[in-house]
Symmetry: C2
Subunit: 425 residues, 2 copies
């Protein structure tokens, strides 16, 4: 345990005390040895599969995608600015440890205390865990109440997302005051991290909604496929071009410089319906060839789509309502964003389809937890999706059932806490 | 495509026709090239990470655990014995292909047809995929109707599970006429397999409920940990001892010989509540040390628990209601079973806790999808859990919200279909 850790971790016990924990009374049924080592201390040197926690930018944005996501959105119960800052400092200290594969809290476990760490990640390496934090509109002010004295610092780019055509957002599965995105190459490690941070924030933040996800990005050579069977992400900016797309700069508030704006959308996909379509129709829907990922009329995945090409009858080869036509930067005055989406399986439940074969019954509650990162959502996601929500051929198979936007502050150096530029300025 | 495949795959188009598919009409918006290769043919020799599909036993039972589970339970809509057999034959042929990393159906994709395979596993190796099939009570007869002429062949060991103390089973999330357990080292591959089989059975089987799960079994040296942070599976029979525990023999119907009975229970765990308990109490609840997994009073995970040991005050070192005391074969006339359970995350939803700190709010809908395999549930799961459901200290943190039992028939040779011993005899 370093002195940096100590400095940044002032308050877990305060939150616990504030929440009125009665566990000790229930638990003291038997005498216990004084201490026990519940988790090993850190191996040296740095562990395999460790992503850096400190840096100019937060991890988990331009970091190559891991295989698992666990995303959590919280309401804030903290009533004072100092409590919120203390929570962020505690999250920071714990995150530095968790991303290094260490238990959430340092020290030696006393058997008469609740666990310093719930323990299910013991024995695993960090699995490339990244933790990414975002601040939602409700953090800046809630129902007009400037609880934390930061209302004036809300960036204009952190817009309230408009109602888009076709939105069927589920109450309680959208928005939030603060979020944690945990990505790792193991679902237990990702969930473990969020769970530890949620424990640390008892009394200051309360869970609002969560979403787990999966991707084959770390197993597939090249672009991974989504559950519709198509390669997804071909048009993402390359690493050489990603910086101006993703990172906020001097155009907005100084505290957000080197941060990014995240838009998250839970998109349920009618997979049973999709699977009944013929492949030609699927390809026309996307505007790409299913096997190769090539734009229709081209031969290779990364060929530049020819949006002007027509067939012998004068019809566009890439249909007017094809997904890639609507999404392409070239058709949107250059507007683009970094997509970093995970597929999800939330079980199965009853659906009445809106299209032939008009099936009613139990279907997969499955689809895409879409996430995009951008310098300014007003000229990226909002602009792009406003048009797509109206005419994209994909809309026949997709329903947006959750939505959120967050301002993800810049990365930090050791000794700082996540969001410090917002509160310290 | 082999002649075996051809023989065993009679009926997909029949099912589709029966379901009244209208996709072709919707889909024929544009002219399409005649054919397209949507998925690659099989690499030779056999792929990496391939589990055998054929054999004396079905895979996925004594197979070392993979990291991901996708489990689906179906009702049967087939009205005729021959339709059910045709479905099983089609599932068999597709399963042999899927476990080898091939598309669900052989042949060359015609662009004017629905996909032979939905495509999202293209480019991945088999990821140790296993597919395990089980027959539920409703397959043998439904509301007294012997639809398939097999009611008399229902094994006595395929009992209707009794209502256990504390059961809070959710309608529509339990039971089923037939199940598929897909396990693989990738969640997309596991889901992909069930999705293809469900497509093939359109009109014959309808989805009832599903559950996805995860485990660190393939990443942890030794016994993996569950979400309560404890090693889970220490008392499982070793591979040398597993056969008499798991496989049905001459004691039951001949058609089930080398099969096994699966009991599945969706167990929601109050993780937030658990995390507030002190470690000593957690250890007393399980009867094991959290870090090492050793029985209380012992030093190593696989030490034989000393259930007679007492402390200076005469109290049992391993409490009377500790989980391992109640589960141990030695305390149950030798009764045991093979547990093969996955943790699950189904999001988060509202809970009112029954215990201090009496919290009401959004909590993880998370826990353990418990699965056990045994020669006879009457003398294994039912006997063991009847007592545990009443006095196990773990019950303070767990709620059984789903339940099912299935007879998993023996493995097959090439040319046979899953369940052939039941229908052919």
């Amino acid at each position: 345990m370093t002195s940096d850790d100590e400095q940044a971790r002032p308050s877990r016990r305060n939150f616990l005390a504030g929440a009125g924990i009665a566990g000790a009374g229930l638990a003291a049924l038997r005498p216990a040895a004084a201490v026990a080592q519940v988790a090993p201390s850190r191996p040296t040197p740095a562990q395999a599969d460790e992503e850096p926690f400190y840096g100019t930018y937060q991890g988990g944005i331009t970091t190559p995608m891991q295989s698992s996501l666990y995303f959590a959105s919280f309401d804030l119960a903290a009533t004072k600015r100092s409590d919120l800052i203390a929570m962020l400092a505690a999250w920071t200290a714990a995150s530095a440890r968790l991303t290094a594969g260490l238990p959430a809290e340092p020290g030696t476990q006393n058997l008469a205390d609740p666990p310093l760490d719930s323990g299910e990640a013991v024995g695993l390496n960090p699995q490339r865990l990244t933790l990414t934090f975002g601040f939602g509109p409700d953090m800046f002010s809630l129902n007009g109440d400037d609880r934390y004295g930061i209302a004036a610092k809300r960036p204009a780019a952190l817009v309230d997302l408009p109602h888009f055509n076709g939105d069927e957002l589920i109450d309680g599965q959208s928005n939030g005051a603060i979020c944690i995105q945990a990505c790792a190459n193991d679902p237990q490690v990702a969930f473990h991290a969020v769970r530890q941070l949620a424990r640390i924030s008892y009394g200051a933040a309360t869970l609002k909604w969560v979403q787990s996800g999966f991707s084959t990005a770390n197993k597939t050579q090249g672009t991974p496929r989504n559950l519709m069977g198509f390669k997804d992400g071909t048009m993402n900016p390359t690493s050489a071009n990603v910086a101006p797309v993703v990172w906020a700069g001097a155009e907005g508030p100084a505290w957000m410089q080197n941060g990014s704006y995240m838009v998250a959308r839970r998109i349920r996909i009618g997979l049973e319906h999709w699977d009944r379509m013929n492949v030609a129709f699927q390809e026309q829907t996307f505007g790409r060839t299913k096997h190769t990922g090539a734009p229709l009329g081209s031969t290779a995945e990364f060929d530049t789509p020819d949006f002007d090409a027509t067939d012998a009858d004068g019809n566009a080869i890439i249909p007017d309502n094809a997904h890639i036509r609507l999404a392409a930067p070239v058709n949107n005055n250059g507007a683009t964003m970094l997509r970093r989406s995970y597929s999800y399986n939330n079980g199965a439940n009853f659906v009445a389809e809106r299209w032939p074969p008009w099936k009613q019954g139990i279907e997969y509650d499955s689809g895409l937890f879409f996430q995009s990162y951008q310098q300014d959502p007003r000229i990226a996601f909002v602009k792009l999706f406003d048009r797509m929500s109206k005419i994209d051929a994909l809309n026949q198979f997709t329903t947006h059932v959750g939505s959120a936007i967050f301002a993800c502050p810049p990365g930090i150096s050791k000794g700082q806490y996540i969001g410090q530029t917002l509160f310290a300025a």
